[in-house]
């Protein structure tokens, strides 16, 4: 993991002092509400329906056990004893008090954490695939590049007051788990014929009100030009992105308006000036960053384990857990273990303080003291010995962290929705729960197989509903909460935006609607097809007919 040096520490300390002073001036009436707004947002602080919400950055989803323990203790001391994993691999607190936030930030800084640029019209936390560094067939570990981008984007003086928020994803794995194509900038790490590392650059992807898949503006950007090229993109966006209408202010609208070719030309013209200038990355800096992400001390282990195999033969739940929640690792004798934070009856991605402490202990015991947060609102222990899997599984059961349905229907991605968020049109958590209850029969979930279900409580699409195989969007109809369903979305290398099924439904009807959709799939699927395959083959009509059929 990246660790701070004296420069990083100083920068963070300066930020805390700055925000402490800003908060003081706001409380003393020297800053207006409007003037304070972007300052607090750029420190992750929203004013929500019931209380402020603080979003803590987890840079590209990487956490140490020490950091997780700190998050647990903060949730006890400043909040109500829990925290929420967000769809940007961050952690949110729902109940901090404004006056205490500067102290909370100082505590975070003790473990090299912060809430910088987790909100506001600036460059947000860069995200990546949660299996970076351990995935089989990885082109290159994306974490050092994310760290390079983190530093470049932190307190960038020119781009702190953009037309709108700005999100960057980097992906170096064959199965894109970072939703790269629906980011303002998506970077796919590539190797050219000479074996040099570079990036395929996509711009103008995004969800929200107008979902768009990013357009390629550079097929291969040699690595040393990464930051100067990003500067050029940002400058074009900062100057020409719309500022008259916040719903048309994202870069995707600019790229659509002028076309990807014209946008590329503008970027190239701007870039020619900075290319090979002082912002050009150096081998030394890249190596410095790479040195923080070297392999832990893996043992030489066999890739089979008779005891684990025998335990799986006896313990059905464990065998399911292995099948669903355990992923191949690049190193023989190791596995990636996913903790699915989707216990029915608990808001998806919510963790109690004791669960956080517990997972921190698990990370120390089983995975070199590190873990990852996923944009699907789960946790990952990336480096678990195959032979430890049964011990880990049994430990997870104690704290309700062993739900064996990663990637199944009940692994629902869900924003906080109308229960917490002041932007929401509708609640989302109760919808997730009602669907989870309907599909509680685990055998049924296994039979349905791989599927993604995403719920957003409003158009801002924090639940990424556009790219769920099944997407659910809360809408407001004359003051009542309704839910629109879309089908066929996907966030992987073949990213697709879901298609709206038809008129929206009342909250109570949602489990039945999902049931009917699943039945159409089960009745039509051919051998080896998952939900998305069948949908792509038969199209949306059969689903429409079933869901909107008039009762005879």
């Amino acid at each position: 993991m990246y660790t701070y040096d004296a420069y990083d520490k100083q920068m963070l300390e300066d930020r805390i002092n700055q925000f402490r002073d800003q908060t003081r001036r706001f409380l003393a009436g020297k800053l207006t509400e409007e003037q304070f707004l972007p300052l607090r947002l750029q420190n992750g602080l929203y004013i929500q329906r019931l209380a402020p919400m603080l979003r803590v950055a987890v840079p590209y989803g990487c956490l140490s056990s020490t950091q997780l323990r700190k998050l647990a203790s903060i949730s006890r001391d400043y909040d109500k004893g829990y925290a929420h994993l967000s769809t940007r691999q961050n952690v949110q607190y729902n109940w901090p008090i404004l006056e205490q936030v500067p102290e909370l930030l100082a505590e975070l800084a003790e473990v090299e954490m912060h809430a910088i640029q987790t909100s506001g019209n600036c460059i947000r936390n860069t995200t990546t695939d949660q299996f970076a560094g351990v995935a089989v067939g990885e082109i290159e570990d994306s974490r050092p590049w994310c760290e390079v981008i983190r530093q470049w984007s932190t307190f960038h003086p020119e781009f702190a007051y953009l037309p709108r928020k700005f999100k960057i994803a980097v992906c170096g794995t064959p199965n894109d788990q970072a939703a790269t194509q629906v980011h303002d900038i998506g970077l796919y790490i590539k190797k050219n014929a000479e074996g040099q590392i570079g990036f395929q650059v996509l711009v103008g992807g995004g969800l929200g009100r107008t979902p768009v898949i990013g357009a390629e503006i550079c097929d291969f950007l040699p690595w040393k030009h990464l930051l100067t090229y990003l500067d050029a993109i940002m400058r074009v966006y900062n100057r020409f992105g719309r500022r008259d209408n916040k719903y048309k202010a994202r870069i995707k609208i600019l790229v659509k308006a002028i076309g990807a070719d014209a946008f590329r030309e503008k970027v190239d013209t701007e870039w020619q000036h900075d290319k090979d200038g002082p912002g050009t990355l150096t081998k030394e800096e890249v190596n410095r960053c790479k040195a923080f992400f070297t392999d832990p001390a893996y043992e030489k282990l066999d890739d089979n384990d008779a005891e684990v195999a025998s335990a799986a033969g006896k313990d059905l739940l464990f065998s399911h857990w292995i099948e669903r929640n355990v992923t191949e690792h690049k190193t023989s004798g190791y596995r990636i273990a996913n903790l699915c934070i989707k216990e029915t009856g608990v808001a998806p991605g919510d963790l109690t303080d004791s669960q956080m402490d517990f997972v921190a202990d698990l990370a120390d015991k089983f995975s070199f003291g590190e873990l990852r947060v996923t944009h699907e609102q789960n946790l990952v222990l990336t480096d678990v010995r195959l032979k430890d899997l049964y011990d880990l599984f049994q430990a997870c059961k104690q704290e309700s962290l062993a739900t064996p349905y990663l990637g199944l229907l009940n692994d629902i991605v869900c924003c906080p929705g109308g229960d917490f968020c002041s932007l929401a049109n509708a609640k989302s958590i109760p919808i997730a729960e009602s669907i989870q209850r309907r599909f509680e029969d685990f055998q049924r979930q296994m039979d349905i197989g791989d599927i993604t279900l995403n719920i957003s409580g409003c158009m801002n699409a924090c639940g990424h509903h556009h790219v769920g195989n099944i997407g659910i969007l809360g809408v407001d109809k004359k003051g009542a909460e309704f839910y629109q369903v879309s089908l066929g979305g996907s966030a992987d290398r073949q990213t697709a935006i879901g298609k709206v099924l038809g008129p929206s439904f009342a909250q109570d009807d949602m489990p039945d609607v999902i049931d009917k959709i699943i039945d159409v799939y089960l009745n039509n699927r051919e051998d080896g097809e998952n939900f998305l395959n069948t949908y792509n083959r038969i199209g949306i009509e059969p689903y429409k007919e079933s869901v909107y059929a008039k009762a005879d």
């Binding site: 530093q151 020119e158 702190a160």
Partner: protein, 166 residues
């Protein structure tokens, strides 16, 4: 008189801001000998403006294009970039373009909704003079320049990013 900080010190403001709507006659009728005219007036009446034997500076709004001054930077002793509201970040880029692309090396001033909490970033983008918004305490605002001891990126003020220095 609006409060001015120049090169890190409270300073006297000599320049008279001519509104965007003013035509040539209105501009030159102003008694001040330091006229800060909008880029549109400059575009139209550059030679006439010079003929009046006054100091001429140019200000541009956030939606004006700094590149338009490519051939003029040597003729101007002051260029000002306007922040119509502090959240409008376009003038940060215009400032950077004036310094980096056009090599403008005289006074570059921020005008408009210039608040204490954006001044550190403005300075990093090459702005060296700040006409403060009325509500801002000028003495307090001086502290803005030391908000951060360093920065990660290549900026106008420090072209070498931290990774070339650490």
């Amino acid at each position: 008189m609006p409060k001015l900080i120049k090169d890190g010190k409270l300073s006297k403001n000599l320049w008279h801001l001519v509104p965007k709507e003013a035509d040539l006659a209105e501009a030159v009728a102003i008694s001040s000998d330091h006229l800060l005219v909008h880029i549109s007036l400059w575009r139209e009446h550059k030679s006439e403006l010079f003929a009046f034997n006054k100091n001429i500076g140019v200000w541009m709004d956030s939606d004006d294009d700094a590149y338009e001054l490519a051939n003029d930077v040597n003729d101007l002793s002051l260029i000002a970039v306007n922040f119509p509201v502090f959240k409008d970040g376009r003038s940060f880029s215009n400032a950077a373009i004036l310094r980096l692309r056009l090599s403008f090396n005289r006074e570059l001033r921020a005008i408009g909704d210039v608040l204490r909490d954006q001044m550190f970033y403005m300075k990093k983008c090459g702005i060296n003079s700040f006409e403060l918004s009325d509500t801002v305490d000028a003495e307090e605002a001086l502290a803005a320049f030391t908000d951060f001891a360093d920065n990660y990126q290549s900026t106008v003020e420090d072209p070498a990013p931290l990774f070339r220095r650490r």
